[in-house]
């Protein structure tokens, strides 16, 4: 089945920049400037978008909600980045989003639109519990990595199924990954409420706990002014960086982009398209599966309905706003986390509904996506 034309558009920036052979020393400065120019332009564009969001949302606050926008913005700042505590809350919300966003961003390089992130997350978290049970509480330094690997594998297989259905059966991966989410949720619920249920968990059915020793805790020994953060954030940032290197700097990533750009050309080149699709889906699902392990092991320490909080779905949004670029996912997830983190303060201090900050996110992200269209048009003309 050929790649859909529409999805190829959002797949990747034109590959020309990174593919250029190494220049000689004299032009190094010029090439650096040339490389920085798009970044600067992007920064300028994003700043304009952010200002426009502030204005539009401000008008919305003033006219529809009858509130003073400046006071609301002051508290949004305070609740997201303004205090050490808020920074910690923001980072805690951003960490899982980095991982779930990769689940959509990696296959996007192949021109695929995967949206079944939540299913991979749930099965990953569940598998993490099973691994912790097998390994016991005595060697967390082995158990925790094993939980992450096991959860990653489970999530990876789940998304690879969607890739396999596409390669072998011609099933659209967007639909199949969404349907696989529903199957994954049902499987998760069955395990939590029946097969793996801790008989002592009466009114909130849960699996047996992984044990205090196997919890993924806060990072110790940070300077006092540093916001609190847990190891999940490190995993998120590192995987985004690794994904960026793999997708932009390796032959595998190059091959993936060729498949995403023109599947016929890729076939003519003799690229192993099916293998590339399956491996990419496996890596993508693994990121979401690890998000499930992290979320499970940071707070609950057991799998239950709390894990199905929609982080997989938010990841889709983050990936699209980051234009499927693994590096851009890091700041986008932090901004998204910050806006969400500020929601409580906005609710409490201004008696605004909880959806208020969602409106802000909506305006911001629509403008970001729209600005890309304008920017591209400007470049082409």
């Amino acid at each position: 089945m050929a790649t859909q034309g529409g999805t190829a558009m959002i797949a990747a920036p034109p590959p020309s920049v990174h593919l250029a052979p190494a220049e000689d020393g004299a032009s190094a400065v010029a090439s650096l400037r040339a490389a920085l120019a798009p970044a600067l332009r992007a920064f300028g564009l994003q700043s304009a978008v952010f200002l426009a969001t502030l204005v539009i949302f401000g008008v919305f606050l003033l006219i529809i909600a009858g509130k003073n926008p400046l006071a609301v913005y002051a508290d949004m700042w305070k609740g997201s980045f303004g205090t050490r505590f808020s920074q910690g809350a923001t980072l805690a919300k951003a960490a899982p989003l980095m991982l779930t966003a990769l689940c959509t961003a990696l296959p996007a390089r192949l021109g695929m639109v995967v949206i079944g992130n939540e299913g991979a997350l749930l099965l990953g978290g569940l598998t993490g519990v099973v691994v912790a049970q097998l390994f016991g509480p005595d060697m967390p330094y082995v158990t925790i990595p094993a939980m992450l690997l096991g959860g990653g594998l489970a999530g990876g297989i789940w998304i690879a199924l969607a890739g396999a259905l596409r390669q072998f059966r011609g099933v659209n991966e967007t639909i199949s990954s969404l349907l696989l989410y529903y199957i994954g949720l049902a499987l998760f619920n069955f395990c939590v409420e029946d097969l793996l249920r801790d008989p002592t968990s009466l009114n909130k059915p849960s699996t047996v706990p992984i044990g205090e020793a196997n919890m993924i805790g806060a990072i110790q020994g940070l300077p006092a002014w540093f916001p609190e953060m847990h190891w999940g954030l490190v995993i998120g940032v590192v995987l985004c960086l690794v994904a960026a290197v793999v997708m932009d700097r390796s032959t595998f990533g190059f091959a993936a982009r060729v498949v995403g750009g023109n599947v016929k050309a890729a076939r003519l080149q003799g690229l192993p398209i099916t293998a590339i699709v399956l491996i990419t889906c496996l890596l993508a699902g693994a990121a979401a599966g690890m998000a499930g392990v992290v979320e499970m092991a940071v707070a609950e320490g057991k799998a239950n309905a709390s894990l199905a909080a929609g982080l997989g779905f938010s990841g889709i949004l983050v990936a699209f706003v980051a234009r499927q670029n693994p590096l851009a996912i890091i700041p986008v997830a932090i901004v998204f986390g910050g806006i969400t983190a500020s929601g409580g303060l906005v609710q409490r201090r201004h008696e605004l509904p909880d959806a208020t900050v969602d409106v802000f996110t909506g305006i911001l992200f629509i403008l970001v996506l729209a600005s890309e269209v304008f920017a591209n048009r400007g470049r082409q003309s």
Binding site: K78, G79, T83, F85, S86, A89, A92, K93, N189, E193, D194, L202, N203, K204, P205, E295, V298, A299, E300, G301, N304, A305, S306, L307, A309, A341, G344, L345, Q347, R348, R349, D354
Partner: protein, 367 residues
């Protein structure tokens, strides 16, 4: 090590020495769903409104906070940014591990949780838990339904087959049976605390199957009550008063009365009887008698005969002379679950592990 110990001793001494906090006590309420959901969260919000009216108390409210790391951040945010010293995180799943984690981190803050899960042997002193015997309300609902039904078929839309829910289903059935021995109750579990689509489907399915009185145990029974009104059958409310949604269909309802409970807490906190470093009634429970639960005003279709019976049973409950669960009692598979001669008091912990549906209930707990 020594220095840390000294420092914390000093800090503790300062805490004890500081005078009872002056006027403004900031109390935070956290809800898992919308506070106007005609259900679980609205019941707590109505309780918060009572506290709000107490002079010298400032309340904070935050809704739709999931039972994840998010609720820990919300609790911390209320403490760190808004100076809350008392928190009411109201959802069942907030307790373990979220409240317990935060209670250890903030020992000077009181955490009061709805669910009745406090264990003095394991849990910190600045934590308390409360819950109500709302099955008493469902029993009275059952009496109203038993009188109102013509088909003898009652319907129950429930979230999950967990002990708290099963206890309500069984109490409803036993209430109906008291006045209508042939009545049966069909229960449908939606599997979710808030899933209006499945709840609407379940209601229609029950009505199509012949049920002419519905009740529910989900977070927001709104769509179930509305469906009953649209289809011209009757309905008994749950959590809070839903009469406004079904002016003619509504019979009565089992409501929480958190206003009474929260005001009592607030008064004792203000007087200093409850403090993070003291021993106090960490675990409180109550039913009709203690004012933890109440009934909605009767709808237009409740007959005088039904009213008289409900009031008579309620009077016995108020006098503490009524038991819902007593032997001989069989489950719906024919197994004796409470032998003849045994009467279980509402406080009996056995009731909190209920895993069966009583005879007359059509449905399966899945276990």
């Amino acid at each position: 090590m020594m220095r840390t110990a000294l420092c914390s001793l000093l800090a503790a001494a300062l805490l004890v020495a500081s005078p009872v906090r002056a006027e403004d006590t900031t109390i935070g309420f956290i809800y898992v769903g919308p506070k106007d959901d005609y259900g679980y969260n609205q019941a707590h919000h109505e309780g918060a409104e009572v506290v709000k009216a107490i002079p010298g108390v400032k309340i904070l409210e935050e809704q739709k906070v999931p039972e994840t790391l998010d609720v820990q951040k919300t609790m911390e945010s209320m403490i760190e940014l808004d100076g809350a010293t008392v928190l009411f995180p109201t959802s069942f799943g907030y307790f373990d591990p979220h409240i317990l984690t935060m209670a250890k981190k903030y020992p000077a803050v009181l955490f009061l949780h709805c669910g009745g899960m406090y264990d003095a042997a394991k849990h910190p002193k600045n934590v308390g838990s409360y819950f109500g015997y709302i099955d008493e309300g469902q029993f009275l609902n059952g009496i109203a339904a038993g009188f109102a039904t013509k088909s003898g078929k009652l319907g129950f839309v429930a979230a999950k087959p967990i002990p708290q829910v099963l206890r309500n289903v069984n109490a409803f059935m036993l209430g109906a049976k008291l006045v209508n021995p042939k009545a049966t109750t069909t229960v449908i579990f939606t599997g979710d605390w808030a899933d209006p689509v499945k709840e609407a489907e379940a209601s229609k399915q029950l009505i199509d199957g012949g049920a002419d009185v519905l009740t529910a145990h989900v977070d927001s029974p709104k769509v179930i009550v509305q469906t009953a009104q649209e289809r011209g059958i009757h309905v008994c409310g749950y959590h809070t008063n839903q009469a406004a949604l079904a002016p003619t269909a509504y019979l009565t309802g089992a409501e929480w009365n958190w206003g009474t409970v929260y005001k009592a807490y607030a008064d004792q906190i203000k007087s200093g009887a409850i403090a993070p470093d003291k021993d106090w009634g960490h675990l409180v429970r109550g039913g009709m008698k203690e004012g933890f639960v109440k009934m909605s005003a009767y709808g237009p279709d409740v007959t005088p005969e039904a009213k008289a019976k409900i009031e008579a049973v309620k009077a016995q409950m108020m006098a503490g002379a009524f038991s819902i669960f007593k032997g001989p009692l069989e489950d719906n598979k024919g197994k004796v679950v409470i032998p003849a001669g045994t009467t279980l008091a509402q406080t009996d912990p056995v009731l909190e592990q209920m895993s069966y549906l009583v005879a007359g209930v059509v449905g399966d707990t899945g276990r």
